[in-house]
């Protein structure tokens, strides 16, 4: 599967000797696939030149950012975008930031906090690319998904450079849809394959107001970080409710009152994962907290722009929670716990604890839609986890799901996952079976899950989008060098 010496030299001439490697011995560092080569382009021009060479020689390529996940056909060239790590611009006046693919969310957010700004960090975590599309803990105030992508610089699968929205007409990044070409439906597909062919080389992301501190006052030594004080006019709480219905009603009212900076529908298992520093501690903490909560719940951060604003928001929050018979989790009222939860859930810096720490892997089903309906689906998916928990295949999280509203409205994301040891073949097969079964149920019950597929099965239920998508990909990728699937994390 290796490149011929001549072709290798052509790629090498673009990126330089130091930035290409075809030694199969180091490929497992990336993934199990046999890559033809790994190439590290340094800028858009190099990406374009590499992509054009791929077209000339009919070589499949796939780009990655930090490289967490992805699907990679055997023999493809991997474009590791690591060298493209610049924050190009932070435009405070027009509230957008332009980043290259390897700027991670943590870096951008830290720069934004200094300026009283923030952006949507995806639930995957702050260690992922800032240009990643998706949803996150702060969706209440930062929205989510493709709402946050403004203008994009895109190297098409053929190697043309397309600049969308305002960038295409006025060399400005403030809008993704005009004046200039809007390719939103192609570039930020929510349905499978979910990934745009070609390579995003720069993207503008929308910025939002940040009422918190320029930097959190963190003290202690890893992994025992704490805040030396809770920042002024901020508060974090976890509330549990006697029923799903009451929780949902409270979530809705909080959204309508527009008082929450963040409302993250954590289950108590995820709270336990967040606040503990080892698996053993987490297991013990989960049992303890699970005994304290009265039912499902959510985590809320209130952030006031002034003391009066904070007092108002707090009062409204307490009223709504009280009317829904909600109960505050005592452990989370401890400033040491409150502080680190607040920090981790705005910096999105503990997603790995929530997902990978227990067994090394998790399989998830995320569902978008009306929150009360998707929660009903998730309850069924949770019950379907119970046999796996009993057999010891997956971590006992009480069969719980999680989720949150987006833009303080009814729309939201609901997600459920199984955490397991991927080296246990039986557990792996059982989890994959659960994921397939519950995704199929979601499809039958007319919910949309991003795990659905293949396209020719779900396409007929979605206006035959797959036929259009097939035509589009043939048009923009005539040589078939930019395959579908995977993600750009």
């Amino acid at each position: 599967m290796a490149l011929s010496k001549e072709v290798y030299k052509e790629f090498e001439a673009v990126v330089g000797e130091e930035n290409i490697c075809d030694d199969p011995v180091i490929m497992p560092a990336y993934y199990g696939t046999e890559f033809a080569a790994v190439i590290l382009p340094g800028d858009t021009a190099e990406v374009q030149a590499v992509v054009r060479l791929c077209n000339r020689h009919k070589i499949i390529f796939r780009p990655i950012c930090t490289g967490w996940t992805g699907m990679f056909p055997k023999g493809c060239v991997l474009l590791d975008l690591r060298r493209m790590n610049r924050i190009v611009e932070i435009n405070e006046k027009n509230m957008y930031a332009v980043v290259e693919p390897y700027v991670i969310s943590s870096e951008l957010q830290a720069e934004l906090f200094k300026r009283g700004l923030n952006f949507c960090i995806k639930g995957a975590g702050t260690n992922c690319s800032a240009m990643l599309r998706g949803h996150g803990h702060m969706d209440q105030t930062t929205s989510g998904d493709d709402r946050n992508h403004l203008a994009i610089e895109w190297v098409t699968p053929e190697g043309n450079i397309v600049r969308t929205g305002a960038l295409g007409s006025a060399d400005e990044w403030f809008c993704g849809d005009g004046p200039g070409p809007s390719l939103r439906s192609i570039l930020t597909s929510a349905v499978p394959p979910g990934v745009t062919p070609g390579v995003f080389t720069k993207a503008a992301v929308k910025l939002y107001h940040w009422p918190g501190p320029a930097a959190y006052p963190i003290e202690g030594v890893s992994p025992h970080y704490q805040l030396s004080e809770i920042p002024p006019n901020m508060m974090a709480r976890y509330y549990s409710f006697p029923s799903v219905e009451k929780m949902w009603q409270a979530e809705l009212k909080i959204g309508e009152a527009e008082i929450a900076f963040e409302l993250m529908g954590f289950n108590i298992s995820m709270v336990a994962a967040n606040i503990t520093t080892s698996n053993e501690e987490e297991e013990e903490t989960f049992k303890r907290l699970n005994a304290e909560v009265q039912g499902p719940g959510f985590f809320v951060i209130i952030a006031g722009n002034s003391a009066a604003d904070f007092a108002y928001k707090k009062k409204v929050l307490e009223k709504i929670v009280s009317e829904a018979d909600g109960r505050s989790l005592k452990a989370a009222e401890d400033p040491r716990i409150e502080g680190i939860l607040m920090c981790q859930c705005t910096r999105i810096s503990a997603s790995i604890r929530e997902t990978f720490r227990n067994g090394g892997a998790f399989n998830s089903i995320p569902i978008m839609g009306q929150r009360d309906l998707t929660i009903k689906w998730a309850i069924g998916a949770g019950k379907a986890k119970e046999p796996l928990i009993k057999k010891g295949y997956i971590v006992d999280d009480g069969g719980a799901f999680f989720g949150w509203g987006v833009e303080q409205g009814h729309l939201g994301k609901t997600e459920i996952f199984c955490k397991f040891d991927p080296q246990n073949a039986e557990a792996k097969a059982a989890v994959e079976g659960w994921q397939k079964q519950e995704t199929e149920r979601a499809f039958k019950e007319s919910y949309f899950a991003s795990t659905m597929g293949p396209q020719d099965e779900i396409g007929p239920a979605l206006l035959n989008y797959h036929l259009w998508w097939s035509k589009l990909t043939k048009a923009i990728d005539p040589n078939g060098v930019s395959p579908e699937g995977g993600s750009l994390v």
Binding site: I26, T69, V221, S222, P223, E280, R347, D396, A427
Partner: protein
């Protein structure tokens, strides 16, 4: 021991890339956010902590195949442990240990680095990791120090190879003994009976040479009845305190870094820094005093079958939490007139000076590149000087300063204390 025992840990890596950056809460912007010099310099994922683990796991599964590129990956790593600290904020898995075992295996399989072979040949011949010109104790001529190998002392001052033989670094030994004398400590040096701690040989992958050195040192210490050893070399500190213990050799020997000992002397009122040192400084945590100076945790157990990566008995991970971070800072704060400003990457997530893991010898350009990154970070604080607590750090940082024509001064902590007493 052996790579095999870490198979489960290596398979736990989820390629999240946290190992490339300082702990996410601590990221303060786009500058100085990287933790690992190797991936920062060479960019391919193979050079990261996670990449190394995934290669190790694949090789255990599919067999070992050494190529030039693989050996380039293996030896272009300072084994500084920053990857492990960042990973272990969230994950329960060993990171640095399997990376170290991989290197030990390379050496055991004869896949060595020629530059390191040369250093080890010198060690076998002279007992030193640096070129030995003259005798080891020559620096102490005229100082009338006790010979700890023959005379009864409370404290053995272990000088270390670089400080003993490098004419530019011998000032650190003279400063250290002046401080100990001023505090009235009954101490001695082993002089020509001192030999290399073996720590750097271990970092380079030469386990047997490390063990030989450890045994020689401990035999001398036992014979002399030494109870407390103080060293001003971070590599020596880690070797005596952590590595010897890892191999069950240390016994009840008390091992202290000079900064810990000075902090203790100040606290006990035996040492009083009175003279003003009007200088604004920033402190560089040596890796092997800081995160890698954390005591070894002896543990044996088995994975509990099931859904979680947990063990019976429970495993306590060394996450860099218990390194030596405060004593050097306490000492600096005790010096009148001195102003300490912190860099972005400090304590458990400090950036390496570049010298560790044999990189200083096998790839001096990379060592210098790494040090230059640190100098840039120090300059960004506005400090006049960068202070460290290890001769290897001072040497490498000093070379980077010279190379860049920076006005930044480089000191070891003992030099500043010497000025203050």
């Amino acid at each position: 021991m052996g790579l095999e025992q870490y198979q489960g840990d290596m398979e736990m890596c989820c390629r999240c890339s946290a190992c490339k950056f300082i702990p996410m809460q601590k990221v303060k912007g786009s500058a100085f956010s990287y933790a690992c010099p190797s991936i920062a310099r060479y960019n391919f994922h193979a050079y990261s902590g996670g990449g190394r683990l995934n290669i190790g796991a694949a090789m255990l599964k599919n067999g070992f195949k050494y190529t030039d590129k693989l050996l380039d990956v293996v030896y272009n790593c300072q084994l500084c442990g920053a990857c492990g600290v960042s990973c272990n904020y969230a994950m329960d898995m060993e990171v640095l240990q399997p990376i170290t075992e991989f290197r030990l295996k390379c050496v055991a399989d004869g896949k060595t680095n020629p530059a390191l072979d040369k250093v080890i040949a010198g060690l076998r011949k002279t007992g030193s990791m640096v070129t030995a010109r003259g005798k080891r104790g020559d620096w102490a001529a005229g100082l009338n120090l006790k010979d700890a190998a023959r005379e009864k002392v409370d404290v053995l001052y272990h000088v270390g190879c670089l400080t003993s033989y490098d004419k530019d670094m011998q000032k650190l030994a003279r400063a250290a003994v002046k401080i100990l004398q001023k505090a009235g400590v009954n101490f001695g040096i082993a002089g020509n009976a001192e030999t290399c701690c073996g720590g750097r040989a271990y970092q380079m992958g030469y386990e047997e040479d490390f063990l030989n050195q450890a045994k020689k040192n401990l035999a001398m210490i036992k014979k002399a009845g030494i109870k407390t050893l103080v060293t001003s070399c971070a590599d020596g500190y880690q070797a005596f305190k952590v590595l010897y213990d890892k191999y069950n050799l240390k016994g009840d020997l008390e091992v202290l870094h000079i900064s810990e000992y000075i902090a203790r002397l100040i606290e006990e009122g035996k040492l009083k820094p009175r003279r003003k040192v009007n200088l604004s400084v920033t402190y560089h945590d040596p890796c092997r005093l800081g995160r890698l100076g954390e005591p070894w945790v002896h543990w044996e157990g088995k994975k509990v079958p099931g859904d979680r990566f947990v063990f019976d008995p429970p495993k306590e991970y060394r996450r860099g939490t218990k390194g030596v971070y405060e004593p050097p800072r306490d000492v600096l704060k005790a010096i009148p007139g001195l102003k300490l400003t912190e860099m972005t990457r400090i304590k458990e997530y400090s950036w390496c000076c570049g010298a560790g893991g044999g990189v200083n010898e096998s790839n001096p350009d990379f060592a210098l590149w790494t040090a230059q990154e640190r100098i840039d970070e120090a300059v960004a604080t506005g400090a006049e000087a960068i202070v460290s607590a290890c001769p290897w750090c001072e040497k490498t940082l000093g070379e980077a300063v010279k190379e860049s024509s920076s006005a930044l001064k480089v000191y070891d902590i003992v030099e500043l204390v010497e000025k203050a007493i």
